[in-house]
Subunit: 554 residues, 2 copies
């Protein structure tokens, strides 16, 4: 049985789910011993610890020109001292070019089989990936497992499935027969899905696998060779994926350099060198808007970006204000507000939020919101694990600086004790009230656990602000609470025009921060928060070109 | 019966053909009296003549701010003196913005029905369109009828079909139900295909409808409002399309400004003003590379270009050299080389072209090629109608200048008498031999009837030159003649890497210049000749954004 045949049922289910957009998950998201094995977690942790302080020697990239690595654990505030093989840009490009001409001739089926197999291999290493993610990003254990393991693998599968479908969208050949009256003109036609060339995938420090695998697998399934350039602060999780891809390539007598890791260090970043290289035709990027916009403007390249945005919550009317406050408190606490989908601006009418039992005033809601944030932080069985640690020291600084914002500080940021990691870099949310007229304060992303309660004239102003900020500065998510169907449609329509998906009336165990593979497009590509979307058809079709040849039938 | 129901069978057939890429034509390409009516041609000519010297008053755009028009017939070398309503950029944008918010809420089915109906209305005016095309572009009668009439309508239908399919690619709603162990989490999800906004379609002087209708109908089907900015030298053919679209819109109680004509004049061109306007989100362009590249670099817009390229013919080995010479002679004579798909560079090995009866030398082929060109020109029943007239005076100058190229002039350009139009601006092909080492001479587009016979070391060099020119300067078409299957695959592969479709071994009544709707992608988007392709999925998906909203099931 070929690798394609082995994995075909999963690919078929994934394509069906992509179309139906109903629930589908190929990888089990909970680290359940029954699924992964009784000792999988402990084994993974041991393997992760065994990697520390050593060379990462799993990659099949020959003759490293050096070894380096500067990752640091936000939980330990110590260096991991894992070092990775270092290669010059020329070496990386030369190898990518060479492997490209082999890989592009591999059939779509064989590519799909190999890529699926690599995901299955990574599945056996989800716990290693989880600990590597915790100790580079600062994510809590559960998020690190889910986001970097099964959720990332599902997103990768989504890209494989979307790519596989698009590669088969048109026939490889057809007879074209045109009636010409006395005879028929007949042409043999053939169509080739021609990959673009070398793809560079630039990772971020907070979601080193989830945000990169779609580009990696999307480029590979469509026949491009890939250079993975992780953030120098979060290499290990994606290095494990790359190593497994390389192993499966080699087992199938293909050049492992089809997917290379291009680790670098803070003092010698090679991102621009790679991105600007004329042979690089595809770039995927997750990170800050300035660098993303620079990449988007590079000529003659297809560039896929997820940049930053200002995510809003519009509060109009609610069924149960306590459930709403609890839900939103969780959203801002989750991974200390370091998700690109975390809410920042909470628009509340000066007259308060309507409920079945009368209005809840602005101040009453602020109190409930703060109480729920504190309640979660101070719950020792939940708080430290939900908030995790702060990846970047600059985020800690930004949270402290936020207290200087011109507005009432409802909640100051503070620290808390993580029972497992006494030395963790932590910061709880700061909550500040800002008047709706002070647009300059809230019309930018304040990355990290920073929540602004914005007092607006009314819900119409809330919607107008949320829309204009999304249009001007981008937005990846939006939360809205209303029990009025007219207001609901107005929000749905106005935020659609800002290409921002809205989560309405979420309470309980589901949060606006979450996006599910196969169903939720992640980033729409329609506002400044990014020009691409996981995984709409363009996400894969832009990675290759349809070329048709023709010849008269003999 | 709704307009959608009326036209649904055609749309369904078109979608099927798009996928199968087999022959399909919804509009009859020959101006047969049996199809169009015995008097249709004569009636169309009368109607066209009746338009001359008058205001074009069919448009439903209120309160023109002026009237102007500077079209000139290449056949008569006289002004048509048709004048069009003139509007300021602000008026055009304001009306487009207003109509957009109505049109975007019209269902995909209703949009498809209205757009199909407009094509059916234009079908009844194909002869008017044909004469308008002849007397603006200089195309011969048959090409003017086919390209601006049925072929353009088929391309428009193709865009409608592709857009309609993509708008229905994902469900408008679905229930997402995630097993959570003890219970299922249920979300109602909905997806909206959100149009981008205002679309500007910039026409060219040689194919004023064929090259513009795909953008116009592609943007309209996906819910955008469209401003059609024709070339000031070729307005009338597309004005008839726009007028019919507006009439059907108005009949259906919709704002006719959903599709506006933005005519301008050579002394007061508004193209840049329109393109740079912040509200314009989509731009379609056919024309020169410099302006196309300027448009592509405009930030925050989706830009679809067809620019210029250098089209090659690779001559390696042939079955019947006379048939090949005849076929290629037709290709360079057709519309006097003013097609974007016309061949320019003919690569011939110094050792000649292999045939079943021995090699035909470079000089022997050149002689046959020249003889065939002359034979066609001097055939009074064919020549004047195949060559047509020269649209732009600059083309005539360029042809004369071409004789100064460093190489042997095998054939000088000359004039000929068009029996119908004594005053026609005409120019026959110039044929020059250039050595393969003089790449600077042939590595640019020499628009018009200019053919370069390039003497190469061998077919490998021919392929390398054709590929590198396509990669560096773009190519829209490529012809190749070889009877060797290894050479054939090498050409197919190498030209694929330059994103250039190859027509192999064409002889008889089919030419490399021709691209058929529903089967041949026109321009691949993969080399500098243009960044878009009629009609691949991206051609329509980039005109809207998928946005998903969600809410817990109650």
């Amino acid at each position: 049985m070929s690798l394609f045949e082995k994995h075909q049922p999963t690919i078929t289910k994934a394509i069906d789910a992509l179309h139906a957009r109903t629930f589908y998950a190929a990888f089990v998201e909970h680290p359940a011993p029954a699924v992964y094995g009784e000792t999988a977690d402990a084994d993974g942790q041991v393997k992760f610890k065994h990697m520390l302080g050593k060379k990462f020697e799993e990659l099949l990239q020959a003759n490293p020109e050096g070894w380096a690595g500067q990752e640091e654990s936000p939980y330990l505030q110590e260096e991991l001292k894992v070092s990775y093989p270092i290669f010059s840009t020329n070496t990386l490009i030369d190898r990518a070019q060479k492997s490209f001409h082999q890989w592009r001739k591999v059939s779509a089926q064989d590519r799909a089989g190999i890529l699926m197999e690599s995901l299955e291999r990574v599945k056996a290493r989800f716990f290693e990936v989880a600990y590597a993610t915790m100790h580079t990003t600062g994510q809590g254990y559960m998020m690190a497992f889910q986001a970097s393991g099964p959720h990332a693998a599902d997103r990768a599968l989504e890209a494989i499935a979307a790519g596989y479908e698009e590669l088969n969208r048109f026939p490889s050949s057809a007879i074209w027969e045109k009636p010409m009256g006395k005879f028929n003109l007949q042409l043999n036609k053939e169509w080739r899905a021609v990959p673009k060339g070398i793809s560079v995938v630039i990772g971020c420090s907070t979601f080193p696998t989830w945000n990169s695998v779609t580009g990696i697998y999307g480029s590979l399934i469509t026949g491009n060779s890939v250079i993975v350039k992780p953030h120098p602060g979060a290499i290990l999780p994606i290095a494990i994926f790359v190593a497994e891809i390389q192993k499966v390539l080699q087992e199938n007598n293909l050049d492992p350099n089809t997917c290379q890791l291009a680790a670098d260090t803070f003092d010698r970043m090679i991102t621009k060198e790679l991105a600007e290289h004329a042979s690089v035709k595809l770039i995927d990027f997750t990170g800050n808007s300035a660098f993303g916009s620079y990449l988007e403007a590079l000529p003659d390249k297809a560039v896929f970006t997820e940049k930053t945005g200002v995510n809003s919550v519009i509060l109009d009317s609610v069924e149960d204000v306590d459930k709403v406050a609890a839900n939103l408190a969780f959203s801002v606490n989750l991974y200390s507000g370091q998700m690109c989908t975390a809410p920042q601006n909470f628009y509340i009418p000066a007259s308060g939020i309507k409920t079945p039992t009368g209005s809840v005033s602005f101040d009453e809601f602020a109190e409930k919101f703060v109480a729920n944030i504190n309640g979660l932080i101070d719950n020792p069985k939940a708080g430290p694990f939900v908030l995790g640690a702060v990846q970047n020291k600059n985020t800690s600084t930004r949270v402290i600086d936020a207290e200087k914002i011109d507005g009432k500080v409802w909640l100051k940021s503070r620290t808390f004790e993580n029972p497992q990691f006494k030395n963790a870099r932590v910061a709880t949310p700061v909550v500040i009230e800002v008047d709706g007229s002070k647009k300059d304060i809230f019309s930018k992303e304040l990355f990290g656990p920073i929540a602004l309660l914005i007092k607006t004239k009314n819900t119409d102003e809330s919607i107008a602000l949320a829309q204009s900020l999304a249009q001007q500065h981008g937005a990846i998510s939006c939360g809205a609470y209303t029990t009025d169907s007219t207001v609901r449609e107005k929000i749905a329509d106005e935020m659609s025009m800002a290409a921002t998906p809205v989560s309405f009336n979420l309470v309980g165990g589901i949060y606006m921060n979450q996006n599910a593979a196969f169903s939720d497009f992640h980033v729409t590509g329609g506002n400044p928060s990014g020009n691409a979307s996981f995984t709409n058809p363009e996400y894969v079709t832009k990675r290759f070109t349809w070329v048709g040849h023709r010849e008269p039938v003999k």
